[in-house]
Amino acid sequence: MLIASALSALLALAVFGVLAGGEMWRHRVVYLGCAIASLVLLAGGLKHLGQTPGTGPAIVLPIGLPWMAAHFRLDNLSALFMVIVNLGTTAASVFGIGYCDHVPEPRRVTPFFPLFLFGMNAVLISDDAFMFLVSWEFMSLASWLLVLSDHRNEESRSAAFVYLMMATFGTFCLLTCFGLMAGAEGGYSFPAMRLHGMDGLTSFLVVLLALLGAGSKAGLVPLHAWLPLAHPAAPSHVSALMSGVMTKVALYGLIRILFDLHGHVAWGWGAVLMGIGGVTAVLGVLYAILQDDLKKLLAYSTVENIGVVVIGLGLAIAFKDSGEKALAALALVAGLYHIINHSIFKTLLFLSAGAVITATGERSLNKLGGLLNRMPWTGAATLVGALAISALPPLNGFVSEWLIFQSLFKGPSLPHWAMKFGVPVVGAMLALAAALAASCFVRAYGIAFLGRPRSQAAAEAHTLPFSMRWSMAVLAALCIILGAVPVTVTDAVSHVVQPLTGVSFAVSADLGWPWLSPVSSTRGSYSGTVLVMTGLSLFVICIVLVHGFGTTRVRRADAWDCGHRENIVNAQYSGESFAQPLRRVFCSSLFGVKETVTMPDPGDMAPAKLEVRVIDRIWVFLYLGIGRVVGFVADRVNRMQFLTVRRYLLMMFATLVFMLLVVAVRQQK
């Protein structure tokens, strides 16, 4: 009931947001209301997270289609995602209280923000296909409006267009997918779909369409192209939600269909998912390394992390179809854990990007630098986020990657040869993606927050309002807690995977608290808690020994730099120069990177120029290719608008006869 009132409050806030006009305090009230509603929803999700599977509250409302009431239900999976979503939305709303002054046009943002939150939450609790799709569209359109908020910018407009096209495509695929699952009788409620059996071809199409529909929203390669355009175009707290939270709703859709509604997906699809996940992870992070725009870099890193999650999901499908239920549960736990983690640290990093933009007005890495000295709070929180997303212990990102590796290492026990050979390759890709992510975030953090300021704006960065700092600090604390005490998450998630894989699974069963030992205690174990305690004591011993035996004196001086005492700020490594070795090693064939150096003639005072050309092959070949085909077909079809009436009649007649023929042939069977 509380959840329902929180959701209606969000709708009311949207109306209030429309009326807010130019008064800033009214915008603040909207964001405050959003934060409170999100907190209520978060509490609701937490309350139902541990419920016995199959006992979630359900409600039927007499709205929607005339012959079908709207079904809502909060089962364990929905509850988990409700927690994930509202954790992010709470932080973003609190951030918004301080941030709404700095948005270019707050009146185009504030009304749609609560609608966006409403849409995402409604997707999670829908219990029939109709409500699911309506909420899904609600979420897409609200976020589309938010992307378009900076509509005077040409880049934002084209990003919004691409986003709208992809969202339409995704919804179309999901609509068809649900239609196939409902069957000819039209059982559109989820319980009816679970009971409905499918033949081979239908099953194949359902999975394919779900993958296209939810995958395009989540940003799987090659359907990712819209994501790095649309996510950065929105105001930063909305970007945080789109990247950190909305992609999770898309994954929720994928999990709901593949593990719950469909229920028995063939292992081959698991292999496909793992392959796509591996490619997505590696390509996503390589794209990220090449970016100069801080928000684009984060958006591409989202693509990478979605790939990592999808590897876990694919593995879970393969294990489930082969009857290895415990391992399927482990892989799914790993995937869900990574979903939780990514929603936290990606929201954090996007919020900190928003903070940087607020403080300096710059989002290009090469204009930043030295921000840690100017913005110690933001800098520290971002450092935690960067360490977590680079999968470094003892933070949360490492635990989920560890679990995914542990389940991957059991992959060769699958009976299929494709899996036996594929799993090591996917493992290598995942490892590569993790290592590259560390490089990517050393680059992002080192260039933006460390070193010397590269522009006047960065040198004069100002401090931020209280609410913005607080939301980041809480998220950073969560990164540490979920990493240092991983058992809390795995235990909470174990209830969620029970209905999906058939077994309840506790990762810590074997050794007890606080040890993670996924398969057995001799198979390999990890304890963030013990590691943190030992690490801290070693750290202290280290300080005591060094300071005890030596001196504690410090002298401040100019940088030595091998004796080069030139004080040129631009002699620092820039984003491009940092990425150069990686660009040469990994991107020369994948992205067709070409570097050309133009040296001036002797005596010419012009500076030498280095030009780097990068081709996004997927964009050029797939998207522009499809665009060209559509244009070509449209030109041809255009002629049909200038036919004689007789020919139009002929066409209608031919169609009618064809349809009748189809009916006749089908009746013969």
Binding site: L372, L392, T522, G524, L531, F549, W560
Partner: protein
């Protein structure tokens, strides 16, 4: 109780022994070069000298620069705590496995690279950028080695792997050979040894690790160098422990067993350090962009090691 004692002994052994091993490698190299060389105990004296000196910190440096040496050293030290050297009976052994080990070394690297970029000089950035390029291939290679080891022995925990090998669970396997080759290549890269990096160079164009720690002095420098030495010891313990674990004390071993394990570990380190010194003398350093081929080769060897298991094991 013995597990706790073993652990504490291990924690201090690695730190106490690490400078000696590095000193020995230096001695071997200078003898092979025809020089007399410093005593193998010289690194201890260097540490004492560095600790007495004041630390010079650049004006533009932030707190990351000052915290990085401590974090780096603690992370490497922590990693070294979980690799059995003379006994597998340690309380911390289950706290982290090979995957966590790779990640802990990653923590050290992350902070060192950040520290390199913190002062805002071109050399620091150069070192950080190259180091991360090397790591982006060396880390996956090491994870693939862990993958093949976990397939052969059924576990990712170093102590359990060693127990398995000591128990006669594995014969001479092709995969194990491939994994050893890959691990040695990774170890060379991770420790910045020739042919990837030269620990003795300060030539601007070739340095990688040295470029990152260029701005450090006094106790900060001592910690950074100490971390490098502990890392070298760690990799020696890992390689010798997994591929030649003979002599290591098992749970339940008496005082004699522990003493034997200690002696065996010292002997193995001695042999490996001598071999390293010899190898570094006869080989030339690579060009920077050949690293990718070398480490990519290590990654592919790791992959081959996992694939070959399907042939050798009766499936």
């Amino acid at each position: 109780m013995t597990a706790i004692l073993g652990q504490i002994a291990q924690i201090f052994l690695v730190v106490a022994l690490a400078p000696l091993i590095t000193g020995w490698v230096r001695l071997v190299k200078s003898r092979l070069n025809g020089r007399i060389g410093a005593s193998p105990f010289q690194p201890y004296r260097d540490f004492y000298r560095l600790l007495q000196k004041e630390a010079v910190v650049a004006h533009s440096a932030s707190w990351v620069f000052r915290a990085a040496p401590y974090v780096t050293f603690a992370a490497v030290w922590l990693a070294a705590c979980i690799i059995p050297t003379f006994t597998t009976n340690m309380v911390l052994a289950p706290a982290a496995d090979l995957i966590a080990l790779v990640a802990l070394l990653g923590v050290a690297r992350f902070w060192t690279a950040l520290a390199g970029m913190d002062v805002g000089t071109s050399f620091g950035g150069l070192g950080a950028s190259r180091e991360m390029m090397i790591a982006s291939l060396a880390e996956p290679a090491m994870l693939m080695v862990s993958f093949s080891l976990s397939l052969i022995t059924g576990t990712t925990s170093p102590a359990q792997i060693i127990a398995f090998v000591l128990g006669g669970g594995v014969g001479i396997e092709v995969s194990l050979g491939l994994a050893l080759a890959a691990l040695i290549m990774v170890a060379i890269a991770e420790n910045g040894r020739i042919p990837i990096d030269n620990p003795a160079t300060h030539l601007e164009l070739t340095m990688v690790h040295e470029a990152m720690v260029l701005e450090y002095s006094g106790r900060h420098l001592a910690l950074m160098e100490g971390a490098g030495m502990v890392r070298l010891t760690l990799f020696m313990a890992l390689i010798s422990g997994i591929f030649a674990p003979w002599g290591m004390a098992q749970p339940g071993a008496g005082a004699l067993g522990v003493a034997l394990g200690l002696g065996a570990f010292l002997a193995k380190c001695f042999i490996l350090a001598t071999a390293l010194g010899f190898f570094e003398t006869v080989i030339a350093k690579m060009r920077v962009f050949r690293y990718a081929d070398f480490l990519g080769g290590a990654l592919l060897l790791g992959l081959l090691a996992t694939i070959f298991i399907y042939v050798s094991e009766a499936v």
